[in-house]
């Protein structure tokens, strides 16, 4: 191995190709949703015109990454993290108020959303910390610091009033799971989410009754084993306690519009003119696309601006309407291929830093993809997060591109990385 000539690995063409396909599809969707006519024309002052500029800027920045020494990011990862944390704090005081959230810096017509870039900082910091050879993964200190890296930006973003963007950072749990986080923790998390949803749906008392009945049935099967019985009823008791606290939190801590939003999302409350308006319009647009779609620039709902935010968070509606189920499925498949490819790239890294970073990229992209599309078809609550490479806006496109291209940079250098660590 040592006699290899280093630095000859090439950029991963498959990932690049999938990236370019997605960006191209995204541009078509933005063109369609901001053009408003079925005749083709072009104008740089429009949203699709600006998006084209952002695409050029993103790809240029991606290329620039290849000029920077790969070691730079590892060395300065904490600094990058710190930089964005500072910006997250500053934006709370200096940000522009948009719909009650202060998450944007506005300098003239230029707007910047630090939360978009903070993902990049967290990814670097997490990769650096988890891969540090001095880190003892079993130690309490390691666990607290890891949690801190993730929770600090979440706290700051929630303070900005943009809870949706904060949720994204929970996706890093996927990285920790890959790196050895106990499956039990994940399971507890899933059970907690399930119990919460069931509480909203059926109410506290019904859920208590159900838990006791389930406990009773299981007791009937294992009544000989007193030790298990003890655990069983301890779990039931904990679940009841948790349910009670969720119920309390829902009715006493959350405000009425927040309660409504959750109920609308769960389908427990019809509200097509109010909170459910966006989702209702989104479902109509997507649902009316049919099997083959209405055709490019032929979407009646897209052109009529019926779906609010349709060029940003609800960009998927124009895909669904104009390209139908076939087009939607193709887009989803391309995304899935990209995710599987990133996972493959991750596993072929020899440096732990690179691997952890790769999983960070995967978790961020996948979470955005899943929640964004699920939101447009009423499978997830409406939280304002963009669809990677599709949604209009420079901040998100640049941040996703830089995130992905740094992975490609690391991957291209993986043979050298091997040498530097062993």
């Amino acid at each position: 191995m040592s006699e290899k000539i280093y630095g000859q690995s090439r950029m991963d063409g498959v990932t690049l190709l999938l990236y370019l396909i997605l960006v191209f599809c995204g541009f078509l969707a933005i063109y369609s949703s901001s053009h408003g006519s079925s005749n083709f024309s072009f104008d740089f002052s429009t949203q699709y015109g600006k998006q084209l500029v952002w695409i050029a800027v993103s790809i240029t920045l991606g290329a620039v990454l290849f000029l920077i020494d790969v070691r730079f990011f590892e060395v300065f990862s904490y600094a990058v993290f710190g930089f964005w944390i500072i910006l997250l704090i500053l934006v709370i005081f200096l940000g522009k108020d948009v719909n009650g959230a202060r998450s944007w810096f506005a300098i003239g017509s230029f707007r910047l959303q630090p939360a978009e870039f903070a993902k990049f900082g967290v990814a670097l910091a997490l990769a650096r910390y988890v891969s540090d050879i001095d880190t003892d993964m079993k130690s309490r200190r390691y666990q607290l610091i890891t949690a801190g890296i993730i929770l600090l930006p979440i706290a700051l973003i929630v303070l900005q009033g943009d809870a949706g963007s904060g949720l994204v950072f929970f996706s890093f749990i996927m990285v920790l799971y890959r790196e050895g986080l106990s499956g039990t923790v994940l399971l507890i998390g899933i059970v907690a989410v399930a119990l919460s949803v069931l509480t909203f749906a059926f109410g506290f008392l019904a859920l208590v009754a159900a838990l006791i009945i389930v406990g009773g049935i299981i007791t009937a099967f294992i009544y000989t084993n007193t030790k298990w019985l003890k655990y069983l009823w301890l779990i039931v008791l904990v679940c009841i306690g948790f349910t009670k606290s969720v119920d309390f939190g829902f009715t006493h801590v959350l405000q009425e519009h927040q309660q409504k939003r959750i109920l609308v999302m769960l389908g427990l409350l019809e509200d097509p003119q109010g909170l459910g308006y966006n989702v209702n319009q989104s479902k109509i647009a997507i649902g009316s696309g049919g099997f083959w779609g209405k055709g490019f620039l032929q979407g009646t709902q897209t052109k009529g601006d019926f779906v609010p935010e349709q060029h940003t968070d609800f960009i998927f509606t124009s895909i669904g309407e104009e390209f139908g189920w076939v087009g939607s499925t193709v887009v989803i498949i391309v995304f899935v291929l990209l995710f599987l490819r990133i996972s493959m790239l991750a596993e072929r890294q020899r440096s732990k830093f690179s691997r952890v970073y790769a999983y960070c990229v995967l978790s961020v992209l996948f979470f955005h993809f899943l929640i964004n599309i699920a939101m447009t078809i009423n499978l997830a609550p409406v939280i304002g997060i963009p669809l990677p490479f599709f949604s209009y806006g420079g901040s998100s496109l640049i941040s996703f591109t830089v995130l992905l291209f740094l992975l490609l940079r690391l991957d291209a250098n993986r043979e050298n990385e091997l040498d530097s660590y062993y």
Binding site: S38, L370, I377
Partner: protein, 603 residues
């Protein structure tokens, strides 16, 4: 490390699994459920309607009777988006308070049809200009311009019928799904019968609209659009001058006049009284006139010419003569004695004083009752019949072939069949075949159970004028006339028998009951009838045609409660004939004309 590498497989499986859930839900929304496509179309597509001019109605001489003027409705389109609706500006535009606007939107929404509701019907001319100018700011509203009817000749209301806003009942039964809320449809008369011809074809342009209701580009580049076509001109057989004249003659009296061109079955005039002027039912006047007319005790909305039925009285003797001659039970030499009437057992059908022992021609001229009582006996009780039912049905067959006891099938609706009873009717009263001609003797002189509409009487006159056939009376003319109106109905009486009968009718005018109203130069053949009316004065009836050879007009007039046929119905008929044939502006009988026009006969 191997343990954690397995986790990459779990992560990949989870990614694929969750993506499949998305694809599955999309499949449900896009492929399985079709309600979203419908909702999308309702939200984003609006049809802009171009209302064609309704067809003109012109008379047999090309004279325009009915034409159009525009009316304008303000309509509101649903679903109504309040988000971008500047209600204060709108209130100013339409001169209403916010509450009134909200109320009107609510009413329009409750009664909406195909996403459209009526906001203001019939905007006045001065409001129209202002509203149209300011309306561009309110894309969820639009003005629809339709045609209202105007009348160059304000006559023939019942025949023409009227046009009005389509009712919800009609909308829901519109199988072609042609109509929309607020649109107009022919409600009666010819406007209704020839609705599809007169209305033309609405032009439809489909536009995409945005979430504020503003119209954008054409939907699918106009490939779903419907090209409009103006309504076709309806040429009708009325002679509008004759119609006007008839309405003047009968004014103040109750009854009707129907004139038919025998050679075609075309109706030349159909007058009914009391009546109304058609412009009272123009869309802009309908609201203020309808209730008063509909509740008037004289029932001016009834078309008496086709829906009122009367015994034909002595005019029926013409028919009895024809049947008797055709059956061979009488001939030109048959004479019956009349000693002041017809006597059998305790029954007497009285007759007036006239020369004794009339033959058939003279029996018509002098209107001898006894002659027809005898003839009826001979017709019903021929040797070839097993029982009275056979004899009766044979007689009834002639009447049915002449269009009596059934709807003629003309091209305005609501026509009544009149009455020619079945044999069963008499079986029930008198027992099965336990009756004879004596029981039904009054029908022989056109009284009793026999009931005819004035149009049926006029058609009998046309049938006699044609010497044995008729065409279903109708109004349409010059276009593709339905086959029903061009097929000849033979009544089953030979041509030669008509010579005898027509001679009798001609003599009525020369030296019979019609002598008083004859016109020099026109050979009119007629027959009076004075129908006993248990409720009051006799009905005055007259049927006629002229000229005797190559008849141009057949006519029947009924004047209710007016007395003798010769006093009212006969003058009106002959004045009409004179007008139609001579086409003079001034009658040769100004005194008679003046008397008819100026005398009112209270019912």
């Amino acid at each position: 490390m191997t343990h954690n590498q397995n986790r990459s497989t779990i992560i990949r499986a989870a990614i694929v699994f969750l993506a499949l859930i998305l694809i599955g839900k999309l499949f449900y929304l896009q492929v399985i459920s079709d309600k979203y496509a419908e909702k999308a179309a309702r939200l984003s597509i609006r049809a802009v309607i171009e209302f064609p001019d309704r067809g003109l109605i012109t008379d047999r001489n090309g004279e325009i009777i009915v034409f159009n003027e525009d009316t304008h409705d303000l309509v509101v389109h649903f679903p109504f988006n309040r988000k971008n609706f500047p209600i204060e500006d709108f209130c100013r535009l339409v001169n209403m308070t916010e509450a009134e606007v909200e109320e009107k939107i609510k009413i329009a929404n409750d009664s909406r049809f195909n996403q459209k509701g009526l906001f203001i019907k019939n905007i006045s001319a001065q409001d129209f200009a202002r509203i149209q100018e300011g309306l561009f700011k309110f894309p969820q509203f639009s003005i629809e311009s339709r045609s209202d009817r105007k009348y160059k000749h304000n006559v023939a209301a019942h025949t023409l019928g009227y046009v009005a806003e389509i009712s919800r009942y009609e909308l829901e039964r519109d199988k072609e799904e042609y109509y929309d809320i607020g649109e107009n449809i022919g409600k009666s008369g010819l406007e209704r019968y020839y609705e599809s011809l007169l209305r033309g074809q609405k032009g439809k342009q489909f536009f995409l609209k945005d979430n504020t209701g503003k119209l954008k580009e054409r939907y699918k580049e106009g490939s779903n659009d419907v090209k409009g076509a103006v309504g076709k001109e309806l040429k009708i057989s009325l002679d509008v001058l004759l119609q006007e004249y008839g309405e003047k003659l009968i004014a103040g009296k109750t009854g009707s006049v129907v004139a038919i061109e025998p050679s075609t079955g075309e109706i030349l005039a159909m007058v009914t009284s009391p009546g109304y002027k058609p412009d009272m039912f123009a869309i802009k006047n309908l609201g203020k006139n309808y209730t008063a007319l509909a509740t008037d005790k004289d029932k001016p909305l009834i078309n008496r010419a086709t829906t009122s039925t009367y015994p034909p009285g002595s005019t029926f003797k013409v028919i009895m003569s024809l049947i008797g001659l055709q059956e061979g039970v009488i001939n030109t030499n048959t004479r019956y004695s009349c000693n002041g009437g017809f006597h059998i057992g305790g029954l007497t059908v009285r007759c007036h004083a006239h020369a004794p022992m009339p033959n058939v021609t003279y029996a018509i001229t002098t209107s001898c009752n006894a002659f027809y009582c005898n003839t009826y006996r001979e017709i019903l009780h021929q040797d070839r019949f097993e029982n009275i039912e056979e004899g009766y049905n044979n007689w009834k067959g002639y009447l049915n072939r002449m269009g009596l006891g059934m709807q003629l099938g003309t091209d305005i609706s609501g026509e009544k069949p009149g009455n020619v009873p079945n044999a069963d009717y008499f079986h029930k009263i008198h027992g099965h075949n336990k009756w004879n001609y004596v029981r039904i003797i009054s029908m022989s002189i056109g009284q009793g159970e026999l009931l005819l509409t004035p149009m049926q009487m006029a058609n009998l006159a046309a049938m006699v004028a044609n010497r044995g056939y008729f065409y279903t009376p109708h109004f349409i003319r010059g276009q593709q006339i339905p086959e029903a109106f061009t097929s000849k109905h033979e009544v089953g009486v030979e041509n030669r028998h008509f010579t005898t009968v027509v001679e009798g009718m001609r003599n009525v005018m020369l030296n019979g009951t019609g002598a008083y109203v004859q016109i020099p130069g026109i050979d009119i053949c007629g027959k009076t009838g004075t129908v006993q009316n248990p409720h009051g004065e006799n009905h005055s009836i007259f049927i006629a045609f002229a000229p005797k050879d190559n008849p141009k007009i057949a006519i029947a007039t009924v004047v209710e409660n007016a007395g003798y046929g010769s006093t009212w119905a006969a003058p009106i008929c002959t004045l009409m004939i004179e007008k139609y044939i001579n086409r003079d502006t001034v009658s040769q009988r100004p005194e008679l004309e003046k008397k008819m026009m100026e005398t009112a006969i209270p019912k």
